[in-house]
């Protein structure tokens, strides 16, 4: 029988806490930036201009159909060599994760927008509103209700995806866990704790999102 030894990890509480902070901060930035990227890509997809549609399509497919780990390594190692763009590991992680998440958000947002009855857009246009006004005042406020469950789901995936940035030596929760594991020779305990921390953050967050969604639905 394996004998669990959690006590030894108490010495590592601060670095695990630091790692958690980095993970949460990273997640927040890539969700906000990713949503922005996704919104722009989705609007470009729905644009009347062929160039916008094509560009957005290329972006979405490129990021959606490439493994995140490959993208992370490529952005960090290849970009400086090819284009002379030097980034810190943290910046590279934020950029890659935002673009990657954005490509998935884009499809969710586009789906939410086109699921709305065309008559809503026409009613806005008939009043004399410009297309962007119609989008902001009429379409998006309604579409957001339909998008919020899949957006939430994607954001949870984004949260967990941040663990991959440890390959770039960004000191996130998993990276700090790895440090503790090699120090203590107690990987089982360390990774169990790391998993529990992820769980402790995400479960209340999903519960909160569920309630927000419920409220949103009731408001109509």
């Amino acid at each position: 029988m394996y004998k669990w030894e959690f006590g030894i990890l108490w010495n590592y509480r601060w670095i695990l806490l630091d790692g958690t902070k980095i993970t949460v901060l990273l997640t927040l930035s890539v969700i906000v930036l990713g949503l922005l990227v996704g919104l722009i890509a989705a609007l470009a997809q729905l644009s009347n201009f062929r160039t916008f549609r094509l560009g957005s399509w290329a972006f979405i497919e490129l990021f959606r159909c490439t493994p995140l780990l490959v993208l992370l390594l490529w952005f960090y190692y290849a970009l400086p060599i090819l284009l002379g763009i030097e980034m810190t590991a943290y910046t590279a992680a934020v950029v890659t994760l935002s673009l990657y998440g954005g490509s998935f958000y884009a499809e969710i947002i586009r789906g939410g927008i086109i699921s709305l009855d065309r008559g809503q857009t026409e009613a806005g246009l008939a009043l004399g509103m410009r297309p962007l006004h119609v989008m902001r005042r009429i379409v998006l406020p309604q579409a957001i209700k339909r998008m919020s469950p899949p957006l939430m789901n994607q954001s949870i995936i984004q949260f967990k995806n941040t663990s991959l940035v440890s390959v770039l030596a960004v000191p996130d929760l998993l990276y700090q866990g790895q440090v503790a594991a090699t120090d203590t020779y107690r990987p089982l305990e360390v990774y169990t704790i790391v998993a529990i921390i992820y769980l402790l953050i995400l479960v209340p967050m999903t519960a909160f999102a569920k309630r927000a969604e419920h409220k949103l639905n009731k408001s109509n």
């Binding site: 009855d117 008559g119 809503q120 026409e122 009613a123 806005g124 246009l125 008939a126 009043l127 004399g128 509103m129 410009r130 297309p131 006004h133 005042r137 009429i138 406020p141 309604q142 109509n220």
Partner: protein, 257 residues
């Protein structure tokens, strides 16, 4: 000397095709200010498409369109009017849809205020005053704070009319405004339209309510297969149609109520 009066609306040679389907073949139409024109005809005749062309929700392939001071030429060699021009043009015509298309995330009052607020940049107080006034006019003052989902179809359509009127349009377009309503709710909407006509609003009405067209319209236009088959004073077209096609279409309706 009699000054020749210029029509409010001029349509010349409007043509529209969706894929292989020619929906409008060559439409000429004049509407005088204050005139109420009823567009009737079987479904698929192109009457709704013609109406939508009048506020550019559908852009014609060819032809010319003028409403008041705004005029457009469509077809080869002419540029599509930009989004800004289209928007300002549409702000001067009101459109009422078959399925109401009220904004469900806004209250009735907010629905009516939306146009004046965002398009005209009217102040909130003024927009609210105007909206309340118009809601009273369509008999729905007490519903101002409700959301559209809690209204009956007839009430929704009356709000939609108030919303369109809030832009103070010079022309009102009605696209089968009573077709989606339960029979007992049709009358209240027709009453609002009748009142508008009496006030001298220029109106173009796509409708299946033949008796209403006969009573309210000054001119009736019968369309079939993308062309205007017959047009003239309402009583003449409906009571003594000249064309066989008109006669056969009208035979499906009780025209005197």
């Amino acid at each position: 000397m009699n000054q020749p009066v210029q029509p409010k609306i001029n349509v010349r040679g409007i043509r529209k095709q969706f894929g292989d389907l020619i929906v409008l073949r060559h439409i000429d139409l004049d509407v005088m200010a204050g005139e109420v024109v009823a567009l009737i005809g079987p479904s698929g005749s192109g009457k709704s498409t013609l109406l939508r062309c009048l506020n550019l929700l559908t852009i014609p392939d060819n032809g010319e369109l003028r409403i008041g001071e705004d005029s457009f030429v469509f077809g080869k060699g002419s540029r599509l009017p930009g989004a800004k021009v289209q928007a300002s043009f549409r702000s001067r015509t009101g459109m009422v849809f078959q399925h109401f298309n009220l904004f469900p995330h806004m209250t009735v009052l907010q629905n009516v205020m939306e146009g004046p607020l965002t398009v005209k940049g009217m102040s909130k107080t003024k927009a609210q005053e105007l909206a309340n006034q118009l809601l009273a006019k369509v008999g729905l003052a007490e519903k101002a704070q409700e959301y559209p989902d809690f209204l009956s179809g007839g009430q929704k359509q009356r709000v939609a009319i108030a919303r369109a009127l809030a832009m103070e349009p010079s022309v009102m377009l009605f696209d089968e405004a009573t077709s989606a309503l339960d029979p007992e709710l049709v009358a209240e909407v027709l009453q609002v339209m009748r009142d508008l006509a009496r006030e001298g609003m220029t109106m173009i009405i796509v409708t299946h309510e033949i008796a209403f067209a006969r009573e309210v319209a000054s001119k009736v236009i019968f369309m079939r297969d993308g062309v205007i088959v017959e047009q003239g004073p309402a009583l003449q077209v409906i009571d003594q149609p000249a064309e066989e096609a008109t006669r056969s279409f009208l035979s499906h309706f009780h025209t005197r109520s």
